[in-house]
């Protein structure tokens, strides 16, 4: 029996339940649209039925008024996904996910409407305060009624500033759009590159994303242009809630440069348990893309209940000679993280970099790392991975360095450091090295250490309390990675590491 038939059968069985669920969805929709008004949103609220089948895919595509080729692409992906199986090679304990028990379009937002910050969980407010997030921004993050517009004004110092940014980008020829807009406005560009770095059948979660991606970002930097600003810094709030199947495509033409920031240090509430994003980067000759992520999805409570599953496929293609792609990530959130931002180094003398801090606490699990695929002559890569484990968590670095037979004079340097807090957590380093050309120079260094009693007492004797001492030592451990982040992001990331480790000492 094929999955398709199975799905249909299951669908029939659940028919009765569905009617009920539709009512539930409708009720939620009504509620959602009730507070949509305050937000001057023009988004229609409509819901695909719960569950996933070809009709769901058609529905999504139709709602987004996509061209035919896009629908075909999604359907092909859906069929491929149906024949695939969820990967199980990672050192992760992933519970069975029922893909039929979810909404794939305009899922009803379960955020309750709050009148003011007084109604917000004091614990969340405390974290916002520690992160130093302005009040207006806190309101948006917490979902206070009518906060969005106010905050956008406050943060951007009026909408006109946001418009100014957009104008500045347009003057430079930079295209910065939601992927849905780009599919309509720049179909040829999107079609040319979408799925070229991460093919539809790359992996189970990528295929799922291709079929049902909700929205995301498209960036195009024309030849010779240095993007005049860090993209998304000023769009943090607008970028919230892009959905569980995010799709990002960044193309940097010859001799261009762009720095892109993704994510948010503030804890975001989200009822979508599964997040399966796909990010594709393409750098042409002499182009450089710097992609920075701070990920702080809900990790579940201290007993491991709840929490987001973050199964992301991120890959960059250094297509041209001397092109460079640099991934920097700070991962503190999610219950389960499965993520390997990678570089395919096809261009001669192209450069790939991966800087990562992954912190796990309580019952979090992370299996993350990178792949550096060296096909170009003289291509170089650097991997710096810092894993911090606390509580009962498990933290794995998994990395592949592959050198193709024609890639002469490749160099790679890998450094994997693990820091353990306490004796109930785990740190694992799993390097794969495949070299088919004898001229390659590959270096791999790995260390595992604990925060020593000596360090703790030394720092405390100088005046730091226990938490401050841990934070200082951990930030020192992660410094090589944090310094790769844009300044303001780095400061927030430091605080985030400290907050994520609260209560893990002593």
């Amino acid at each position: 029996m094929t999955n398709d038939v199975k799905a249909k059968e299951r669908a029939a069985e659940e028919q009765a339940e569905r009617t009920e669920m539709n009512a539930e969805a409708q009720a939620a929709a009504d509620k959602a649209s009730a507070y949509e008004h305050g937000w001057s949103s023009d988004i229609e609220q409509e819901f695909a039925e719960k569950g996933l089948n070809e009709d769901t895919v058609r529905f999504i595509s139709a709602k987004k008024e996509e061209p035919e080729w896009m629908l075909e692409w999604r359907l092909k992906a859906f069929r491929i996904w149906q024949d695939m199986e969820s990967p199980d090679w990672a050192k992760l304990d992933i519970p069975m996910i029922d893909y039929q028990d979810a909404y794939y379009y305009a899922e009803p937002k379960k955020k309750p409407e709050l009148d003011s910050l007084d109604d917000v969980d004091p614990e969340i407010l405390r974290v916002y305060e520690k992160l130093g997030i302005p009040i207006a921004e806190q309101e948006v993050l917490a979902g206070v009624k009518g906060a969005r517009k106010v905050a956008v004004d406050a943060v951007f110092d009026s909408v006109s500033v946001a418009t100014t940014f957009r104008e500045e980008l347009e003057a430079a020829g930079v295209i910065f759009r939601s992927i849905s807009e780009a599919i309509k406005e720049y179909p040829n560009l999107v079609r040319k590159y979408l799925g070229k770095v991460v093919p539809v059948k790359d992996n189970y979660f990528a295929a799922l994303n291709c079929a049902v991606f909700s929205d995301g970002t498209f960036v195009y930097i024309p030849e010779g242009v240095r993007c005049p600003m860090e993209l998304s810094t000023y769009f943090r709030i607008n970028a919230e809630n892009t959905g569980q199947f995010e799709r990002t495509l960044i193309v940097a033409e010859k001799s261009s440069y762009v720095s892109y920031l993704e994510g948010c240090t503030a804890p975001m509430r989200d009822e979508n348990q599964l997040h399966a994003a796909v990010v594709e980067l393409i750098a042409m000759e002499d182009a450089e893309i710097k992609y920075s992520t701070v990920q702080n999805w809900y990790p579940g409570d201290e007993n491991g209940k709840g929490g987001i599953y973050n199964f992301v496929t991120k890959r960059g293609l250094c297509a041209g000679a001397r092109s460079k792609i640099s991934w920097t990530q700070v991962e503190t959130g999610s219950a389960i993280t499965w993520k390997y931002p990678s570089c395919v180094l096809n261009g001669e003398n192209s450069v790939g970099e991966f800087y990562s801090v992954a912190l796990t606490n309580n019952y979090q699990q992370a299996d993350t790392g990178t792949k550096m695929i060296h096909n170009g002559k003289g291509s170089r890569s650097t991997i710096i991975s810092k894993g911090i484990s606390a509580g009962k968590s498990d933290n794995t670095y998994r990395g592949l360095v592959r050198v193709g037979p024609n890639a002469e004079n490749v160099r790679n340097f890998t450094q994997c450091d693990s820091l353990l807090l306490g004796d109930t957590c785990g740190a694992h380093t799993v390097p794969y090295i495949e070299v088919k050309n004898p001229t390659a120079q590959i270096e791999h260094e790995a260390t595992t250490s604990k925060i020593s009693d000596d360090q703790m007492f030394y720092a405390q004797q100088r005046g730091l309390d226990e938490e401050e001492a841990v934070s200082l030592i951990v930030n020192g451990f992660a410094k090589e990675v944090l310094k790769e982040l844009p300044m303001e992001f780095a400061v927030e990331a430091q605080k985030l590491l400290a907050i994520s480790l609260e209560g893990s000492v002593g």
């Binding site: 020593s452 009693d453 000596d454 360090q455 703790m456 007492f457 030394y458 720092a459 405390q460 004797q461 100088r462 005046g463 730091l464 309390d465 226990e466 401050e468 200082l472 030592i473 930030n475 020192g476 451990f477 992660a478 410094k479 090589e480």
Partner: protein, 247 residues
Amino acid sequence: MLKIENLHATVGDTEILTGLSLEINAGEVHAIMGPNGAGKSTLAYVLGGRDGYEVTQGSATFNGQDILDMDPHERAALGLFLGFQYPVEIPGVSNLQFLRESLNSQRKSRGEEPLSGGAFIKLAKEKAALLKMDMEMLKRAVNVGFSGGEKKRNEMVQMGILDPQLAILDETDSGLDIDALRTVGSGINAIMRDEKKAVLLITHYQRLLEEVKPDFVHVLARGRIVKTGGPELAVQLEEQGYEAIAA
């Protein structure tokens, strides 16, 4: 300032301090000398509040406040500084960052305003110059790649910046060459010779005591102070050895 009475302390199952009493007043410099294993470093750690050093009897007060129940950082904020025999490395954290955070944490505990970046750098430059330490060293990670002597000098720069009331210096002289010893000695004098401050020097050798002249010298043996005298006692110890004096 510091008043220790009948202090007993254990590490694991072993009693190391066995009824130590000592009183240090403002304006005084005390030296504690004694053979290996007498309990000198244990005394420093117990006063600093290190985990694993358990006080089973006796008391220790600092300006009248019982410090034995306090956390290490609270004692630091009161003005108690420990110069470590083996200063610890903290990779990735610059000395400046470490000291600024430490100082501002102490100031916060005392209800004072944090020191601004500019004011802090000025202070750090001044104290580094006092100890003939290059500012570049202060930009490097705490004690990482420092020689033994540099680490000790760094301890004194830290002391200068944190400006404690009482400094307990655990074998600060070990690992120093003659020139460095002189620099460190004059640093201690410049920073700590003050009628409102006091110093407790823990040392094996009389050499440092020529630079920093003590008012009192104590002999520590078998976990308690067995003899107290003036500077001449240090000379006598060096000539005759601990055996003769402490027996």
